[in-house]
């Protein structure tokens, strides 16, 4: 680890700093572990994203200039630098899902969530976005719900799935 002796960031965000430090020591501080570290740090964040502070901490601890960390964080779809909902709903916009009328599923999701695609619900429970094909075309139309594939979607199953998410959030 190459972290500075006196880190202002560490003083300000001791918890975050310690957490990032742990993740870096798990993967190793060499540059080729940057993506794995960023994914891991993101997964530990409550809002499923990489905050500015988290990126600064990664930069300091791994000894990679912050511009590079930011470039990588913004290049990849799986990493978000904006806060996301407790449930990330990613609907496939690929060719196979398109011919299986994913548009009907999109309409159903918009109606059920009360938002247009590309947005988060005001209660911050759901973020709803399009995503490229994730190789589940055999069960198209499909979406990823917090990374898990849910396929063979219909407007009816959408109601049920979203209902279950709301239920789960209530019981937390």
């Amino acid at each position: 680890m190459t972290k500075p002796l006196n880190s202002k960031l560490e003083e300000q965000y001791p918890e975050l700093y310690a957490q990032v430090g742990e993740i870096v020591s798990k993967w190793g501080a060499s540059r080729d572990n940057l993506i794995a570290v960023l994914l891991d740090v993101q997964s530990k964040s409550e809002r499923n994203y990489l905050s500015k502070e988290a990126m600064l901490a990664v930069s300091e601890i791994m000894g990679i200039i912050v511009q590079d960390v930011y470039e990588v964080a913004t290049f990849y779809h799986a990493i978000s630098t904006k806060p996301r909902g407790r449930f990330l709903v990613q609907l496939c916009q690929g060719t196979s899902c398109t011919v299986n009328k994913v548009v009907n599923v999109k309409d159903a999701l918009e109606a059920e969530l009360g938002i247009k695609i590309g947005n988060s619900t005001p209660d911050e429970l759901f973020t709803f976005e399009y995503t490229p094909c994730f190789g589940a075309c055999d069960v198209s139309p499909a979406m990823r719900l917090n990374g898990k594939v849910v396929g063979n979607l219909t407007p009816e199953t959408i109601k049920q799935i979203i209902g279950e998410c709301r239920e789960a959030a209530k019981n937390e």
């Binding site: 290049f75 196979s96 490229p132 190789g135």
Partner: protein, 417 residues
């Protein structure tokens, strides 16, 4: 008679993919054991005899690639497996990793034996983030192979050293391009590198690197062990079998292994059960998002390198997306244009700006405001992207649009007033 075969997929649903013992009992690692009794040149000759072509999409001769690797001698090398299967409509590498992870690993070890470094080989399996649920299985397979001495130091007493790891992608289609894949493996943004130098000379961590697709590696141990069954299938010019992913408006979407030479019609109607809607078929797209659109009138084309080539189509990733007549070309354009605009890495102007324009024109088509001049702009733009883009993404992207304009000209022109 069933039209599918099982040579590459022989272990599917029969051999527990989490158990190296079962893999070995089913003949696993016999290819490797035989390989180490052979000279690298003999193994290359064997691949050449079956004319094995890269199965990621580019269809470059594996024997030629490996031959280059042998000619570049170095103490330390990179051995990469491209499991960043991002072509829309493609999921056959997913099933190979899921059902036969040891086969992929065995193929990579043979690759390292043939074209690897004399002292050390850094082997990496770059698996897309979307397949995170498979990372654990492959890591577990690597661990078991290490425990049995198939990985690590002095493998089977040959002096071959390999340290193998799984690397996760983070969602970027362009990383399927080999040099972008290496950039990403090194922890950088996945933008393609300028070539030359070829990856064979300067690749992963600047080491000479051998890179192949999941399916290509999976076939190698089968060929080395006994290539007679594989070679009994196919056509004169396309020997063997191919894993394909069939999806879209069909009754039985899925991954199938077919002998080269059966027709698209056989795949759609006999293997995938025909159309789920019972409506007439309008077109299929072969080979992924940048594959050409094939109209119903060409369904009797055989799926083989030479058969598809005759109608200007490439085998590509082996994706077959089937669309019935309820689908408009406009919706399909919309899906493709958004996909490429999202995935363009932004490094070069023709692809970055071309895709922005493409999305704009499709938007105009959708709102009914596109004019004849926009049509000409579209065709110009596609020509430009094809000719001037930096990497394969921008170069091959125009193919489906141009094919659709050719085969469905009236419909496409109808969107321009």
């Amino acid at each position: 008679m069933s039209k599918t075969v099982s040579v590459i997929s022989k272990n599917f649903y029969k051999v527990n993919p989490d158990s190296i013992d079962e893999y070995i009992a089913a003949g696993g690692f016999e290819g490797l054991k035989k390989a180490i009794t052979m000279k690298p040149e003999e193994i290359i000759e064997l691949l050449n005899k079956s004319d094995l072509q890269g199965r990621g999409g580019a269809a470059f001769s594996v024997a030629t690639k490996w031959n280059h690797a042998v000619r570049v001698s170095a103490p330390v090398k990179g051995i990469m497996c491209n499991a960043d299967e991002g072509e829309p409509g493609t999921f056959k590498d997913r099933s190979l990793l899921e059902h036969n992870p040891f086969g992929v690993i065995e193929g990579m070890i043979i690759g390292a034996y043939v074209g690897g470094g004399s002292q050390m080989n850094h082997a990496r399996i770059y698996i897309r983030e979307e397949y995170t649920y498979l990372h654990g299985r492959v890591r577990n397979a690597i661990k078991q192979a290490e425990e049995r001495g198939f990985l690590g130091n002095d493998i089977l007493g040959t002096g071959l050293n390999i340290e193998m790891k799984v690397v996760s992608g983070a969602g970027a289609y362009v990383c399927g391009e080999s040099s972008a894949l290496l950039e990403s493996t090194e922890g950088k943004a996945g933008r393609p590198r300028i070539k030359p130098p070829r990856l064979n000379n300067v690749g992963l961590y600047n080491l000479p690197t051998l890179l192949n697709n999941v399916e290509s590696y999976s076939i190698v141990p089968i060929l080395v062990r006994d290539d007679s069954e594989y070679r009994s299938y196919g056509t004169e010019k396309s020997i063997g079998t191919k894993m394909i992913s069939v999806s879209g408006n069909v009754k039985k979407p899925g991954v199938y292994e077919i002998p080269f030479g059966i027709t698209i019609r056989e795949v759609v109607y006999d293997i995938a059960g025909g159309l789920s809607s019972e409506r007439p078929l309008k077109f299929v797209q072969i080979g992924g998002a940048s594959g050409a659109i094939v109209p119903a009138s060409q369904l009797d084309t055989p799926i083989s390198y030479e058969g598809l080539c005759e109608i200007g189509v490439a085998v590509g990733s082996g994706a077959v997306v089937v669309a019935d007549d309820s689908n408009s070309m406009l919706d399909y354009f919309d899906s493709l244009a958004h996909f490429f605009a999202e995935e363009s890495c932004g490094k070069c102007t023709p692809c970055r700006e071309g895709n922005r324009q493409l999305v704009k024109i499709v938007g105009l088509m959708k709102s009914g405001k596109a004019t004849a001049a926009d049509f000409d702009r579209l065709v110009d733009m596609l020509g430009l992207m094809k000719g001037a883009s930096f990497c394969g993404l921008g170069k091959t992207e125009p193919a489906p649009f141009l094919a659709a304009i050719k085969h469905f000209e009236d419909e496409v022109r109808g969107y321009f007033k």
